[in-house]
Amino acid sequence: MSALKETKDMKEMKEGLQNYLLKIVDEDQENEEQGNDKKIKTYIIESNISTPEKIAHLPKYSVIKPTDNSNLKIIHLPDIPIKKSNKEKQLIYLDSSDPRFWLLHTNVGSKKMQAFVDELVLKNNSQLDFSWFASNFLENNCAIGQGEGFGLKYENSFLADTNSLDEGPLRRFSMLFWGGRPSDVLKGLKGNPGLASGVSLSRVKQIFRTEDGYVKENISRDGQFTLTKGNSIDSHLLAVDNIKMQYESIIQTIENDYRINFTTTENGYNLKGTYSVIKLEKKIENFQVFLNHLLSGNKPFRIFGLPNNVSNNFASVFAIDLHTNHKFNMEISENSIRIYLYKNSCGNVLTRLMTNLQQFYDSQITLMGCDNEQLI
């Protein structure tokens, strides 16, 4: 199998990826859903730092190298976990053409790549984050071609007693569906009141066709694209860009319209922006458990919070987004969460919050803006 090679510019990178794609498809015809370790993967990484040179915590032993194109870097992964017989280079192309949303293209195996990205992103103050594709974003915004299937993964981690064997609220729900009419299947599941809160998409599979060819993509909630089959790397790059732009548009809307910004005037202060609201379909039953879990600072929410004015159904929270260390505030009540981002807050905190609340609390929550506009 041909490996990905160091390249000097984007054109060479693209050619290398295209050659690799054609080769891997030939080798892997019968194994579309397995062996993702050989597949091309692209991650969309949300960045709050100006250039890759300023990455604060590059995972151990990995090395970042420049190319002739200042927007393209090559990251070499350490050789240690690689079998001695495997002489192929383990590398990642880092495309920072869009300074806010970087692309990592690679064929590094899933586990190793996930470990790398986790280490890159999840360190406090990394200023880097995943692109968080909420369940309804995956369903609506990632439907760029023909639906081929989906994965669901839900685990209610806001229960007071997680070990109880009694049949109460839905605790876990996961399934993989590959086949025809996935949207009909999804609709059927959502129509079941006992399951609806657990219908949280973890990934969708789409066939995307262009005049250049086609690609089959697995698109995951953490902003990862796995190209499972296809013949056109341009189609893959177009699919990624298409969804990236939709995601970016949501982040821009949040940061333009849903951040509170006071500006000084000659005689006082003006205010621009407002809060957004997460609408909870399912009432918060145990407020203390909910607060403790959400505000602990732990993964995946990465929100630390000091609750004030706490009652059985309300808390005003002074919070820190551990991704960027920006302050923001929340008003949590049993039916909704108001989120007040301030001047420099990162909009990605909202997509992270939404995606993870959908996975770990209730898949039916929505992020609402003004005029009843559903932001996510």
């Binding site: 202060y269 407002t274 600072g297 005003s316 005029d371």
Partner: protein
């Protein structure tokens, strides 16, 4: 249960009424009223100063001032508002409106609990201004008070039903909030600094004041700033004596130092302190150092 002070609630309520938002009524915004200034200062012809809490503008000719009250209506302040004229407003260029027909309304805004105290001023001191009351499920015009000059305001502010809580975090805290609320903001600030600054975070009380009360501090009077500094100093002193923070927050002369902490342990200490803190802990201290401040102190 601790809560945002009435003043903070009232100010946030007015901001919500005039800001398009997802879940709270905003009739002022719908009818073209925009916040022009928070805490405008208007020098009157007799050299005294009027200092309402928020100023709104509409079209090119209408201004609306709100005075939020968390207590009774001071006669001295009322007299100043009575003297306020359109000429004072024009002379000091406090508005961007340019119409020769510029006019203004001024309204008192208070909570249901304080309604009686404000209403007394109508009969006792001849308060000529409209009075709005924030109740649990509505904002209502008090019929004992005078109507607005602007007929539009009489119709849109007569009664505004409220179905959700009043938003509290446009401005999360102000000077007359309780200690726990200000402490939350203080610890939130320290945690942020602990992440950003790898070495110790050092500050004077003046610097802390600037960073913490960024949104409004420049409009506070020297007396109010001094009181605030005293309050922050007292809170820091209490923090320094807490087991969790011994040696971690220190003072050398006028400079305070928050030593670099392991983030996880620092966050845990802060959370523990806030969670376990009874709202009454500092109450006795408050009485000594912090008689409830109201807007008119500023």
């Amino acid at each position: 249960m601790s809560s945002s002070s009435n003043s903070t609630q009232l100010i946030n309520c007015l901001i919500a009424l005039s800001t398009k938002n997802p879940d709270f009524p905003y009739p002022l915004w719908e009818n073209g009223f925009q916040i022009e200034t928070i805490e405008p200062r208007i020098l009157l012809s007799d050299t005294s100063q009027a200092n309402p809490d928020i100023q709104f503008k509409r079209n090119n000719d209408a201004l609306l001032f709100f005075e939020c009250k968390d207590g009774h209506c001071e006669k001295n302040q009322l007299e100043r508002y009575k003297k306020l004229t359109i000429e004072d407003i024009k002379r000091h260029h406090i508005t961007s409106l340019t119409s020769p027909d510029l006019f203004f309304d001024l309204v008192y805004f208070t909570s249901k609990q304080k309604e009686e105290k404000i209403i007394q001023s109508v009969e006792k001191d001849g308060n000529p201004f409209p009075i709005l009351i924030l109740e649990e499920s509505a904002i209502k015009f008090n019929p004992k008070s005078n109507k607005f000059k602007n007929p539009l305001l009489n119709s849109i502010l007569n009664e505004i039903p409220i179905k959700t809580r009043v938003p509290q975090n446009f401005i999360p805290f102000m000077v007359d909030d309780d200690d726990k609320t200000i402490l939350c903001a203080l610890l939130q600030h320290f945690i942020q600094k602990n992440f950003i600054i790898k070495t110790e975070y050092q500050f004077t009380l003046d610097e802390l004041l600037e960073e913490l009360f960024l949104h409004l501090i420049h409009h506070y009077s020297p007396q109010a700033r001094a009181e605030l500094k005293g309050r922050l100093g007292k809170l820091l002193k209490i923090l320094m004596e807490k087991d969790e923070f011994l040696g971690k927050i220190v003072r050398r002369e006028d400079v305070f130092y928050v030593m670099p902490h392991r983030p996880r342990s620092f966050m845990k200490s802060c959370q523990k302190l806030i969670t376990e803190m009874k709202d009454e802990i500092f109450k006795e201290d408050n009485k000594e150092i912090h008689p409830q401040l109201t807007f008119e102190n500023f």
